[in-house]
């Protein structure tokens, strides 16, 4: 009988305790963030979409090498000395390579940040942008090259012109890379 009354009392009092707890939670500040209107402040070192500053990029390709998922594609053209357009890097040195193609496929990117660590000139960095979903996968391939296709053709033509000139003037110097190649092959 005592156990019976104790049971009833335990059941009643514990439900009141539970109700007290939920009552307190009724007036607690809510944890929900109204996402499109309110935003979570990103952590200082948050890794989001990458951005490449083309003026800083020297086309060294180390980001593409560092990338574990091969989402960065870099193609470069040597700057011809005859090129009327010459650029100076932020560090004061002349540009040696035109970056004719620099693409990052964000569908593949795993946001590891190794490319930013590998970059010698701090050209590639994470932004705070994280809302860039697309309906087509191709749209996730971001193109960072600043040269137009016409310019690329022009630069290639200039370089080819320079090469032929060089061949005419100094035929020996042009042979050297070819020799190197054959040498490499034999060693391999």
């Amino acid at each position: 009988m005592i156990q019976y009354i104790k049971n009833i009392w335990a059941g009643l009092s514990s439900s009141f305790i539970g109700m007290k707890i939920t009552w307190k939670h009724l007036f607690v500040k809510k944890v929900t963030i109204q996402y499109p209107d309110q935003r979570f402040t990103l952590p200082e070192k948050a890794r989001n979409r990458l951005y490449l500053e083309m003026s800083k990029c020297n086309g060294c390709n180390s980001c593409a090498i560092a990338c574990p998922v091969n989402c960065i594609t870099v193609e470069t053209i040597r700057v011809s000395p005859n090129d009327p357009q010459q650029e100076v890097h932020f560090n004061g040195k002349d540009r040696k390579l035109w970056v004719s193609r620099y693409e990052i496929d964000f569908a593949k990117c795993c946001y590891c940040g190794l490319c930013t660590a590998a970059c010698p000139s701090d050209a590639i960095n994470h932004t705070t942008e994280y809302e860039y979903s697309e309906y087509k996968r191709e749209n996730l391939v971001y193109k960072f090259q600043t040269l137009t296709p016409e310019q690329v053709i022009e630069k290639e033509r200039l370089l080819a012109e320079f090469r032929t000139q060089e061949k005419v003037c100094h035929p020996e110097t042009d042979k050297k890379p070819a020799d190197n190649k054959t040498a490499d092959k034999t060693t391999e």
Binding site: I8, S15, H25, L26, V31
Partner: protein, 350 residues
Amino acid sequence: MENVNFLYDLLGRNIISVVLVISLPLMFVLVYALVAILAELKVSAWIQERLGPMRTGPWGIMQPIAEVVKLIQKEDITPDKSSKLLYNLAPFIIFTGAYAAFAVIPFSEYFVPAGINLGLFYIFAVGSISAIGIVMGGWASNNKYSLMGAMRSVAQLISYEVPAAMAVLSIVVLASTMNMQEINKLQTGWFWNWFIFGGPGTLAKIWVIPFTLGLGLIYFISSLAETNRVPFDIPEGESELVAGFHTEYGGMKFAMFFFAEYANMFVVAAVLTTIFLGGWNSPFNTFMQGPFWGVFWFVSKAFSVVLVQIWIRWTLPRFRVDQLMYIGWKVLLPLSFICFMAISLFVMLK
């Protein structure tokens, strides 16, 4: 007792006034159900430290309307192997049962659709109609979960009708009337005249206060069970029975079940308000007392009871079937009998 009804006074007793008297509670139920659904969504969210619906209208207050519109648009499915007639009839019977109880609910001093002398008796009679609807729906669905849910629901309803009836009967003994309007009139004055605090009378009533408080609690607990609310929602226990008796229902028929559940919640809250919390009486004697304020007091009291029901839903987990039966037959029933005896003794000796 004569019917006191402001519409009959205004328009005379003709077909228009009768239709108006019948449809006024219906309009109230529809609006109330929307508000209660919103309250359910918001209270559940706030208790879980969420914001709840925020997109539909300012602070999400249009959410229940959006949900009703969604339910109306849905395809009306009748399962192939079901008993078509019973299947389609069940939601209407449940809603009718819930709505029929509104006939005797006194909203104000001058408005009660039917001020019959057997008000409380009538409420218990029509309150059981919803059990028939649940059994019909559960059986006609031709689904084992539905049938199990229906059987559990009836078992629960029968078990908890008894302590609820005992609680109400004790108050009937104290008030010596079954007319809800009369019971309300007895409780006029300060809030200590409410039957939960022993009803009107001299200081001698101090002896019945513990019993009436207990009866209020007993009636509240059994009313939770009668309306299939958590923690007594084993007929629709999601983790065991998918959705219980309304597993196969969708669209507008499901909406009928939904509305009926909320209407039922209001009915039990209204009964609790009428017999324990003074009905349309102001808690502070003549302050804000009157036929118009009566509606305000009645609806706000009943709605607070509904809010407590919602609050409990989001606090307590569901009972097991055996625990449910234990509480019904071994705890609430003996306790309500003790209270009944004590109150009867008090009334005899008074």
